[in-house]
């Protein structure tokens, strides 16, 4: 790589490199991020959860949304797979069912960006143990 010749140069290099480490930076402050868990047990994967997971983890950074996308096991809503659990900072988690790529896009645009609820919410019937 070429030499860094000025402070502005350094700042530019830094901002270019920052994305590569963003995932780790975000993980340090999960409470202030959008946290999404994608149910990826056998039933989830069979219904297309992997595509949704890939879509979310690639789209969110592109749309400048700080988020942590992880996969989790079976959430128990096998009839509604793929399911995802979305937790906005400081809010209760909400589970969405029948999520495909189109639905995921809608969730990002409406719920994550503006807090508007979209169809497909599943009443949560479990508690997470921290």
């Amino acid at each position: 790589m070429a030499k860094i010749k000025s402070l502005d140069d350094l700042r530019k290099v830094k901002s270019e490199l920052q994305d590569k480490i963003k995932l780790r930076e975000n993980a340090n402050n999960p409470e202030s991020m959008v946290q999404i868990k994608v149910g990826m047990a056998t039933s989830g994967i069979a219904s297309g959860a992997k595509e949704v997971f890939n879509y979310l983890s690639e789209e969110l950074p592109k749309r400048n949304i700080d988020a942590i996308v992880t996969q989790t096991g079976d959430m128990g809503y096998c009839y509604a797979e793929p399911t995802i659990e979305v937790t906005l900072p400081g809010q209760e988690p909400i589970v969405f069912g029948y999520v495909n790529v189109t639905k995921a896009n809608e969730i990002i645009e409406k719920y994550i960006k503006n807090g508007e609820l979209v169809e497909g919410i599943i009443p949560k019937n479990y508690k997470s143990v921290e």
């Binding site: 030499k3 860094i4 000025s6 402070l7 920052q18 975000n26 993980a27 047990a41």
Partner: protein, 597 residues
């Protein structure tokens, strides 16, 4: 390029590498490739996480899963379960010793909750062999700010305002040290980084160099600008091969980017850094001895003044700072002196890194704000004493420090409080002792170390410490007299007053502080010929209780010197003239029939 969905950080510190973390990394990569996931998951060799007790550590981001005691064979299950199926591998999670529950996330571990990481900010977070990762975490931004937006004096003022004091042990104000060197006239000046970490059980500096070498390079360059030096030297012991390796890589990368060399960031300022290897002599951590060693002379201290700031390396003005001190510099510049000064206690600002060792559950590397109490460090972060035993003392400050006891547990840790309590901050080794440790033997251990490490230049240290050691040895053999105890005290004071350098002046501290805090134990050794901890073997007698002995012969069969005799099904007897007090019989006896008297 696809974005990585997971980052797997594997500890590449010396401790975890010794437990084959390199093998874990290799297997993780293989497993990922086998599943064609190498573009989805990034595997990173990081610096030390500090939780060395449970190493090797593997941390998975973004969910912060913290796997402990991982072996290369576990790589397959981590990829298959965690990465592919999204299920945590329960058996590799950390188990809370109190609740016996698995804790998956490092944020919920007691070990990390009380810590504040400034000097260790990047350790265990970035790949130390990749300058890009360091830059993305603000490396060299402080340098740019200082070179282009600040005068040397304004940068020195900032460091002075922050209240940063030398982390190598002395606690001298860093800003003042820089100012002295900057005002000292000289055509050439030098910046020296003291990485000659020599206290037994200490590995703070090593971990910083292994985990975040760029912070040291950046800070030394800042210091060079402030004092007017163009050459930096890192004096590092040759026993730290991994730290040297990483530092060399970091230096090459910094030069390639033009962050070291001529006209750094277009400022017109030039600076470069060389390495100097030490042979691992303890005294070379003393700055005058260190400088002589770098010059190619014997590593012997000389009298101060002249201070190195006036006449140091090659008789030029030289500023010597410890690794951890340097590691605090960039963040002070970036976040401001006020921010740094808001952390810590009244006279000790910021944080301090400690290496926890000894009889403590969580052996490892920690960083806490100054003013944290010993109790918090030992019980909350350290997880308490191993095996639920009774806390007896904690040794701080290495061979120059002293022992702190139960009554000091609630003392906030800072430079002045520790000195008032009869110990010192030192470089940050903390060795925890329990009821099974004999304090006379502990004092003897440290004296053994100083006798070994004394350079021999001045008589008080060369001869005096030898005599101290002989007296202690005599006491632990049960041959001491009360007069010996007086001699110990007097001799200690004479050595303190008359030795040439810091090593000699502080070497009797372990003796004095154990005498102060554990006088009863010394008296017991001398008068009752008894060692309550059961450490001083020559004073102990293993005796078989004929009431309890059933004559199973197990002890006799296990005695390595055949000191035990007796008929089957009859009480056995130990011949004291043959017994070597190894304790094998006591360990083997199923009836608790063998006692120590």
């Amino acid at each position: 390029m696809a974005t990585y969905k997971y980052h797997i950080l594997v500890c590449g510190g010396t401790g975890c590498q010794a437990s084959d973390s390199a093998g874990i990394i290799e297997n993780l990569k293989k497993e990922l490739e086998a599943r064609n996931l190498q573009n989805d998951v990034q595997v990173i060799t990081s610096g030390c996480f500090g939780f060395c007790e449970k190493g090797p550590i593997v941390k998975i981001m973004p969910d912060n899963t913290f796997y402990v005691r991982v072996t290369p064979e576990d790589a397959a299950i981590i990829i298959e379960e965690h990465i592919v199926k999204g299920r945590k591998v329960e058996r590799l999670l950390y188990t809370d010793p109190e609740t016996q529950q698995h804790i998956s996330d490092s944020k919920h571990m007691g070990f990390y909750q009380k810590q504040l990481r400034i000097a260790l900010n990047n350790c265990g977070f970035i790949d130390p062999e990749n300058i890009d990762e360091a830059i993305s975490r603000d490396a060299y931004l402080a340098l740019g700010k200082v070179l282009l937006e600040m005068t040397p004096q304004s940068a020195i003022d900032e460091i002075k305002k922050s209240g940063l004091r030398g982390r190598g042990g002395g606690g001298f104000p860093t800003g003042l040290k820089w100012e002295l060197a900057s005002k000292s006239p000289g055509d050439e000046k030098y910046v020296v980084c003291n990485a000659d970490e020599g206290d037994p059980g200490a590995f703070m500096d090593r971990s910083i160099l292994e985990g975040d070498p760029h912070s040291i390079i950046e800070a030394m360059t800042i210091c060079g600008y402030c004092i007017g030096a163009h050459v930096g030297l890192v004096y590092i012991r040759a026993e730290y091969p991994l730290a040297i390796h990483r530092l060399k890589i970091a230096l090459d990368q910094a030069r390639e980017y033009g962050l070291l060399g001529d006209d750094i960031l277009g400022s017109g300022f030039s600076f470069d850094i060389e390495l100097r290897y030490g042979a691992g002599a303890f005294v070379c951590g003393e700055e005058t001895a260190l400088i002589h060693s770098m010059e190619g002379h014997r590593g012997e201290p000389t009298f101060k003044p002249p201070f190195p700031a006036v006449s140091g390396y090659l008789e030029k003005p030289t500023n010597v700072n410890n690794v951890e001190t340097f590691a605090c510099i960039p963040i002070i510049i970036n976040k401001g002196a006020e921010w740094f000064a808001s952390i810590g206690s009244e006279k000790s600002k910021g944080t301090k890194v400690f290496a926890l060792a000894g009889k403590i559950n969580n052996v490892g590397l920690i960083e806490v704000p100054m003013g944290t109490t010993l109790r918090e460090v030992i019980y909350e972060i350290g997880g308490g004493i191993k095996g639920g035993k009774e806390f007896k003392a904690v040794q701080t400050g290495g061979p120059s420090g002293g022992c702190l006891t139960q009554k000091h547990l609630d003392t906030p840790i800072d430079y002045d409080n520790l000195i008032a309590a009869g110990s010192m901050m030192g470089s940050g080794g903390m060795i925890v002792m329990d009821e099974d440790d004999c304090m006379v033997s502990i004092a003897k251990f440290y004296l053994e170390f100083t006798v070994e490490e004394s350079c021999g230049k001045c008589t008080p240290c060369r001869v005096g410490n030898k005599r101290l050691h002989e007296i202690l040895d005599k006491i632990t053999k049960g041959e001491g007299t009360m007069e010996d105890l007086d001699n110990l005290k007097n001799l200690s004071k004479v050595i303190k007053d008359t030795a040439l350098c810091g090593l000699g002046q502080t070497s009797p501290n372990p003796v004095l502080s154990t005498i102060d805090n554990f006088w009863d134990e010394y008296v017991e050794h001398v008068v009752d010929k008894k060692c309550r901890a059961g450490v001083c073997r020559s004073m102990m007698r293993y005796v078989i209780d004929p009431e309890k002995c059933v004559g199973c012969t197990l002890c006799a069969r296990n005695c390595p010197v055949n000191a035990i005799t007796g008929e089957r099904k009859e009480a056995h007897v130990i011949d004291q003239s043959i017994c070597i007090k190894c304790g094998a019989c006591k360990d083997k006896c199923k009836f608790n029939a063998i006692e120590i008297k």
